[in-house]
Symmetry: C2
Subunit: 619 residues, 2 copies
């Protein structure tokens, strides 16, 4: 299928937008009128620019408030249309989007609307153009796709058809199966947008909160399947009004947009939809091998915090098992939880890489690259494993690995197993999750990245008030919960006032006995985070836990959460460097969250620890 994007999806001038769309590989664009109006280029120059970039102009939009008006207003509207038809000719596009009227001039009269749209279509046809009529979800008299379809049918002109927009259709709920019965020749255009479910004015919802497919709550594959089954063979075109994308770098947003369409097409393929179109489809995307867990997580460690991190891992029961053959990288392990400490990255202490265990690393990497994940080149010594990695939206490297003992292609064979630094285990035997603060502009991009590249699905999604502002937290994981990544982001971009831990990242290790684990860790001097006594008093007040359990939690600095399915016990460490810490967690029953409710307590405690540190370091 051809892939298009409306210029309104992207930030910048019209020129910025066109260049970004072309660079991301789009076939065409919808030109949003205001972008053209503000451009110093003539329509002919824009047309030429598009041609040079290999972009077709698939739609000119929007033309508003046309139909079902009195003769005076109709005359004015036809004159307006003639101007725009002339413009479209110069721009080299043949389809104009006409939105259902929101004007107080419009009357509720389908016959009149149909008659006037017929007139408009006749005029368009004289110019070799056609009119795609779209029901806005907040249209004054026409607000459903069914209603717009009835009017188009009644108007009965070959140059008049429908534009279906997933937001306008899906935001209203209702049955969409009827779309299959729309005659193919009336399906002129298809606009796609996802969105979170929000309880607000639908116009505001549409103008501010649309997302690219796969980033929100709408079932886009089902919707598009109906449209394709009806015989639509035009482009899949994105029209996303989003406050964040409007001010993010357009090149990057265009790649995010393109990734959303590639992933959507894969989902459509899985539905065995007959995909038609004038040209061959894209190369088939290799399916995502189910991730079998974390192979390792790598921390870049700077000289200042490296000793603290090592001491902490040892106190937490990790053994320093090996050393990389050619790089200053240490392998630490306990159970199947492996942490690499990379002292040669020249970076501040941070989570630098996630490695996902996959049956077929090459296939996983090929899939990632076809989904436009930037491939990372990596220096490696002779006979070292060829680790393939891509960059996640926050810059973290994502590796695809197969960990096999005695397997020469395993990344493990790059390490000399020294067996030094042995440490008695504490029962932390696997990685439960990795939590990564996301840059403000790429939160939704990250969701789609992990969803499409690794096949992880969004799980719990929560928002909480933290000491320095609202935070949203969204977990993505495979169905088996073997690779769980928590994406944290601020609801607004942070300003200068952030005295807490900026952009925190942490690795949570799982245990089946948190109390023994925590007690052992404390005895060995692990820097467990002190928790406010007020926290335990509130727990007691709210939940009336067994006093012995509560006493143990207090003694071991264990925090607590529960949901309808189970319980969650967890302990944090202090921060190493400026942003990284560890967590030990125990899940009981079917608890599926990650203790987000306790994050504000953790943040305040990290802040207090830091202030204490500042004080002790003071004069």
């Amino acid at each position: 299928m051809r892939r298009s994007i409306a210029t309104v999806c992207l930030s910048g001038t019209l020129e910025d937008k066109l260049e970004a769309a072309a660079a991301a590989g789009f076939d065409g664009v919808e030109i949003f009128e205001n972008d053209l109006i503000a451009s110093p280029r003539t329509p002919e120059q824009v047309r030429r620019h598009c041609e040079e970039l290999g972009l077709s102009v698939d739609l000119y939009q929007p033309f508003r408030d046309f139909e079902a008006v009195g003769p005076e207003v109709l005359r004015h509207n036809l004159r307006r249309a003639e101007h725009k038809f002339d413009l479209m000719r110069r721009l080299g596009t043949d389809t104009v989007l006409v939105c259902s009227s929101v004007s107080p001039d419009a009357v509720d009269d389908d016959d009149l609307a149909a008659e006037q749209l017929h007139l408009l279509a006749r005029r368009a046809h004289e110019h070799g153009l056609r009119v795609a009529y779209e029901a806005l979800a907040w249209g004054r008299h026409v607000s459903t796709w069914e209603h717009s379809a009835r009017i188009v049918e009644r108007a009965g002109h070959a140059a008049l058809g429908l534009c279906l927009d997933s937001f306008h259709v899906l935001s209203r709920g209702g049955d969409i199966a009827g779309i299959r019965d729309v005659p193919a020749e009336k399906l002129f255009f298809l606009q796609l947008a996802d969105a979170p479910r929000l309880d607000m004015n639908v116009l505001q919802w549409s103008r501010h909160h649309r997302l690219f497919p796969g980033q929100g709550a709408f079932d886009l594959p089902a919707f598009v399947e109906h449209v394709l089954r009806a015989g639509y063979n035009g482009p899949l075109s994105l029209e996303v009004f989003n406050d964040v994308f409007r001010q993010s770098a357009p090149g990057r947003a265009a790649v995010d947009a393109m990734r959303s369409l590639i992933a959507l097409e894969e989902q459509l393929g899985q539905r065995r939809t007959a995909v038609t179109g004038g040209r061959p489809g894209p190369a088939r995307l290799p399916s995502a091998p189910e991730p079998a867990g974390y192979s390792f997580v790598e921390l870049a460690v700077d000289d200042d915090s490296a000793p603290q991190v090592s001491r902490a891992l040892a106190a937490m029961g990790f053994a320093h098992l090996g050393q990389h053959r050619s790089k200053p990288v240490q392998l630490w392990q306990q159970g199947t939880a492996r942490v690499l400490l990379n002292g040669g990255a020249g970076e501040r202490t941070a989570v630098s890489a996630l490695a996902v265990e996959t049956a077929d690393p090459v296939r996983s990497a090929r899939r990632a690259e076809m989904l436009l994940a930037p491939a990372l080149s990596r220096t490696r010594g002779p006979s070292e494993a060829d680790l393939t990695a891509v960059a996640a939206p926050d810059g973290t490297s994502v590796f695809f690995c197969r960990t096999g003992a005695g397997d020469g292609t395993s990344w493990l064979s790059d390490f000399i197993l020294t067996g030094t630094g042995h440490s008695a285990p504490t029962g932390l035997d696997r990685i439960d999750h990795v939590a990564l603060a996301q840059p403000f502009d790429s939160f939704d991009e990250a969701t789609l990245f992990y969803r499409s590249v690794l096949g992880l699905d969004p799980q719990d999604d929560t928002e909480y008030a933290a000491p320095y502002g609202l935070v949203r937290s969204r977990a993505v994981s495979d169905p088996g919960r073997r690779v769980r990544i928590v994406l944290d982001g601020t609801v607004l971009r942070r300003g200068a006032w952030v005295p807490g831990v900026p952009d925190p990242q942490h690795i949570a290790f799982a245990t089946d006995d948190i109390f023994t684990c925590a007690r052992t860790m404390r005895e060995r001097g692990a820097p467990l985070l002190a928790v406010s006594d007020n926290y335990y008093q509130d727990l007691d007040a709210r939940l009336g836990l067994d006093p012995e359990l509560l006493a143990a939690m207090r003694a071991c600095r264990v925090l607590y959460d529960r949901d309808g399915r189970g319980e969650f016990f967890h302990v944090y460490t202090e921060v190493f460097g400026s942003r990284v810490f560890f967590e030990a967690v125990q899940r009981v029953g079917g608890y599926t969250g990650h203790g987000a409710v306790n994050a504000p307590v953790r943040m305040a405690a990290h802040r207090a620890a830091r202030q204490g540190g500042d004080r002790s370091a003071g004069p």
Copy 2:
């Protein structure tokens, strides 16, 4: 009246919040439970900290989901309450806020709710405490203040009263006059919040978009007047959940909050409300003298752009009339429009000061300082006028002036009128408005600042899609429109992708003949901004203007807007330095806007001009 603030209004840890509240002069605080829970300090330590800061703890909040439940849940809830009563004793506060239940456990039974609240009040009373019951606007069974008042009456316990929250009351609309009939002894607490009118889920509206009084659309003075007339004599306490304030510097937000209460009390005084209270009220705020216009606007000019600015002013018909006696400041004038160019500020070219003409500069300055506007000290030579200035939230200096020829106290007497640099006028004879981009965190603070300090009221308020993101634009002015300030702000904090003009500022001069003015300016070489031809074609299509008029607009680079009351013609210049430009405007009829609809076209043109400049400066 005593003034309090809920800790939830401010960013930071509990300690940050308390210190900010005390520094801004609050008498007391409401302690929001989550702030205490996250704090490493014990309740006794918090109490002592508050005492040291001179703050009383006026309320502990919130206690949720108590009433109208079965016996099992009731037992649990009473246990929970006993824990919190103990905590309150340690914290040194005597009132707890109980919100109407949102729990599915609650049944719709006023008798049961009253009976159980009676029980709770009895327990509270035994601890010397009292319970303030508040109807949440989204309460499950109790969502109006009238309903909560009926239940409190039915419960009939002296330790049970009402908490009235302006948001919960005013967000629902309805009649509020009945508040006057509530017995004074049942009015335990009053929480104040303003808000913009938004069409969305009321819980989300409340949690994210509350504002301090005077920043939103609610009629707080009328509401508070009813409460005071009923005999309430507790504190005026702010409870504002706002995404921006939650992450802004708390010291500054607390000052903004305090300013909102001082201004509110003035409005209450104007309503001749009997203000009661245990201690003398604050010193009386001098009323705002009506501003008679701009005395001048001062531009800081750096060496690079100073010659361009001077040339532009000359070409626009301004005469270089005088030179400051002791500073490198030039006076330029045309009609009553005066621009000072200050080459000695050591700053990049920017609007550094507004001066407002007032009958009584001393009174204006005293008012500003009592409204916590930071006073600016200013070096002045002997016998120079004592210009009093305060800093607006964006750092712009605001002067209060009286401009009198031959008046020794006039700021004009600080200038030696050289009479050099005469230039034939172009008909720009006054300042129409000054537009200032506001820092993201202080947009609402700026509205309140100009409203309270200068007595300017918010006029048109608009939001538009600009090339680099959404922008909101709000004009504030006196009723006579003699001092009109346009506050521009981005809807989200900008990130790194801002290739346009950052934080634009401009001065708009008014003329009664824009075409003659623009033509003359062009002839004299004023750097008028080129406007996209697409803009004029769209104007033609949309409005069908007289072709001659349109041709003149095109030739003169004049942009156009109209509303139901009149028309607006305007011309922009190019940017001087990195952010300042000029505008010439003509208002016809009663047009009250400021041409915001054309701002995106202007921004794209400024961007194109800059790129052109970059190119011509390139290799």
